[in-house]
Subunit: 501 residues, 2 copies
């Protein structure tokens, strides 16, 4: 018997409803963390989750994220939830505007769940899921009622929520797991995709449309080749690049994949937005690392498709929880298509963070320490040229003796790459394994680019044909980088840029 | 330019040709190793490789193996190679008869390579590959000449080799990589399968036949669905169980598989021994662990198909090399077929080694130390009954704080098993990754049986539907066993038998 009510003792609508000393104390605890990121978006305290409302409006990029700032507060523990709001002119330097939306209306009293935003003339239209429960007098028979709700932000970043929902769940044939609208415009018509669970407990995505962002019609399920594919799809996002249609989503309940939850995409011809037909697609994992979920894209004014995501996964206990916070967003990526698959690269604005650069070429035949500044804030690229090595080991976050490290194993003889985070002073999520492996053709001029921050690495292989993102928590002395060549010699060129806001 | 000659400085035909102090010194160094196995066959010094001539003859099991007893000798370094010979009445207690065959004939001067044996009336017929080189006056243009040779062992274990080969390589259309005859009898006719490399540098197996073990005819290549599958097949072994035909072999040069070399099998309908046709088969890895190669089977007098193999792989640097030896054989296994796949279990004679037994049932909801004797010589079975855990961690070779260990991750939520050997004081072969993963349906009553010796573990899942074999090198204090349940409680029954010769 679940006592749901126990989750909501001391639930408040606004962060300002708790004694200010309480939250400032939380922030103080978080600030004492040795794992704070230098240039990735984190919460100043509490838990950060899915990116929301990623958009360009009024001369700025806007990015919100799921936020429970008091998630780790104690004595008393408060529950408060909403969207934190950040803005940026360059996707790199972000200004924290604090609570953007809070769970303060009757349509979202139990959670301002994920959603999206679209600039329309002078307003930013926000489309989100409000979570509510009915029958809360009962101990264990609470019934979820999800509302799909609109809100409007003006140029002063003031948000007004609608008081009536566009749609109320559960819809006939579906359970009350119905959330995460992603709104987009095509041919002067508006659409949104949402995650939904069928009554038979399989997941799918629903397509809805509107001529005016007021009246929404259900087009129907997005019709894919994947009719039985997990028990729920979260955070769908449909967009088009060239002649391709891409549906990003997070199918929950897939077996055998190493991570607890996956984020992936279907790619094929463009979706028929009149019928939802989206056949002849193939499913790929978007990021093959340990910590990646809830991707959301936006179209930049210059036409680029930019990706954000949560560099974290639900239910994983991160070592930062000790410091009363968890989660960060990925560094924004530009996505493109190559050979029928998504490729990803850090946005070029990362160069705004370059402070010093080093260019090193070495013939490596054994273990070598790479002389780069000892701060784990880097955009570092390793290009492997002439090589007769059987394998190369790239170690970052390495201590002086290279005992602890995050290791990238490039097995040239067997044509695979392994990311190994077993050698850590702060292990976590070990029950999901400590390696991720993928097969490659390790042709000459293999390129490995790593966006490394204090406690994360985003590893881009061959211009982002494969990406592995993960959190890694290191001791103070783990700031070195080593390369080891096994069974031969390799010429490795290293381009390192130290990064700082 | 390879200077092959440098490999053969101080090559001697017989172990007895070196000063006796030299080899006794090697043995002394080996004896000082903390990693010596208690009940697995190891070499008393030098390197052990493929099992050879596995057979039953004259009231005993006979097992030979590839042997270079002086492989790690120094000042001077000697080269000497042959087959070491062991006999046993029960496949468990083995008597070491020392050098069974040495590289002392003109047909095997550069190596008494692998082969097999078959009892025929009063003799044990041995069929092996003699390795020779011609053009050895040149520095780098040595040419390999492989001979397929017969030898005969009498009841006094005295072996006489033929002075003329049955077959001489290279055969037309093939390179000189031609070796490892496995002889068998069917319907009063003799056959052998051998590994061979085509001129186009792909591997295959050759079937030959003989009415009398004297005259051998080439039937031809074994015709499979796998015409391009690695650059060489080593150690083929064909046998039949029920209506199935099984071809064990070691395809070299497969990409993407984690281990450097694989051992696997094709299974299907019985082979047509007149034509070599063996279609409609499927390839499976025989053992999914880190260290397994060159399996060879024999038929026991009671009809069981018994498997031996090298618990090691070429080119891996094992920590035992410090002590001038490397390699061991697996504990013998009985193989059977279930649902079209091989299943494996330790031979029942393992009970001959049982000394004390413990039966423990625990409800595990956190980390628990399992109270069993602190000696890593065990036949231990974990049966997981009622469970709502998300994952279970079984740690053996664990120190008191469970920091170092060999870990079996049973992820019940995601239905996979990971074997993780990253947490070791004596890491090796890290360039091939430190985990092996496989997907399972982790239904109730999952059973994990581990044959654990001082420096190895053979892990049998659900009565041997999957097997993971590996070496693991531990500190003296790593004799504990822990079970951790994550996210729930599991009832685990443990049956532990301490083993000793």
């Amino acid at each position: 018997m679940t006592n749901r009510r126990s989750n909501f003792v001391n639930m408040v609508k606004h962060l300002s409803d708790v004694p200010s000393a309480c939250y400032s104390n939380e922030i103080k605890i978080t600030q004492s963390s040795p794992f704070r990121q230098a240039f990735h978006i984190e919460s100043e305290s509490g838990s950060l989750g899915d990116p929301n409302g990623f958009s360009y409006f009024n001369g700025n990029y806007h990015l919100f994220h799921q936020w429970s700032p008091l998630a780790f507060s104690k004595n008393p523990h408060y529950t408060q939830h909403g969207w934190r709001h950040l803005i940026s002119s360059d996707l790199v330097h972000w200004q924290n505007l604090g609570a953007g939306m809070e769970s303060d209306s009757n349509l979202d009293l139990y959670g301002t769940y994920s959603g999206s935003a679209l600039a329309v003339n002078d307003i930013l239209f926000i489309f989100y899921t409000g979570n509510t429960w009915k029958n809360t007098e009962s101990l264990d028979n609470w019934q979820r009622v999800p509302y799909q709700v609109g809100a409007y932000m003006d140029k002063k970043n003031h948000i007004i929520k609608n008081t009536a929902p566009f749609l109320t769940g559960p819809l006939k044939g579906y359970t009350s797991h119905f959330r995460d609208p992603k709104v987009f415009k095509k041919d002067n018509h508006y659409y949104a995709v949402l995650g939904i669970q069928r009554d038979n407990l399989t997941g799918t995505a629903l397509l809805i449309s509107s001529p005016d962002l007021h009246d929404w019609n259900i087009v129907g399920e997005i019709k894919t080749n994947y009719s039985k594919f997990g028990y729920m799809w979260e955070c769908p996002d449909y967009f088009e690049i060239g002649n391709y249609g891409i549906l990003n989503f997070c199918p929950q309940g897939l077996e055998h994949y190493p991570n607890i939850y996956q984020a992936g995409y279907l790619i094929g011809n463009k979706m028929n937005l009149k019928t939802g037909e989206f056949f002849n697609t193939k499913f790929y994992i978007l990021d093959e690392g340990f910590d990646f979920y809830a991707p959301q894209t936006m179209k930049a004014p210059d036409g680029r498709r930019i990706l954000s995501a949560w560099m974290g996964i639900s239910e994983i206990k991160y070592p930062t929880e000790k410091y009363h916070y968890t989660g960060c967003l990925i560094f924004p990526r530009e996505v493109n298509i190559k050979a029928g698959k998504i490729i990803q690269k850090p946005i070029h604005e990362i160069t705004h963070l370059y402070k010093t650069s080093d260019y090193i070429t070495k013939n490596i035949s054994n273990e070598e320490r790479i002389p780069i500044p000892n701060k784990n804030q880097r955009d570092i690229t390793f290009t492997i040229g002439q090589s007769n090595s059987k394998a190369l080991l790239l170690d970052i976050f390495a201590d002086e003796k290279n005992k602890n490290h995050l290791r990238i194993i490039i097995n040239q003889k067997k044509n695979y790459i392994v990311i190994n985070r077993a050698h850590s002073s702060f292990p976590f999520a070990e029950e999901y394994g400590e390696e991720r492996k993928n097969n490659f053709n390790l042709s000459k001029n293999l390129q490995i680019r790593i966006i490394q921050d204090i406690s994360s690495a985003e590893i881009f292989i061959n211009n982002g044909e494969h990406v592995f993102s993960l959190r890694y928590f290191a001791q103070d002395n783990q700031t070195n980088c080593f390369i080891t060549s096994i069974g031969g010699e390799s010429k490795v060129s290293i381009e390192n840029h130290q990064l700082s806001l």
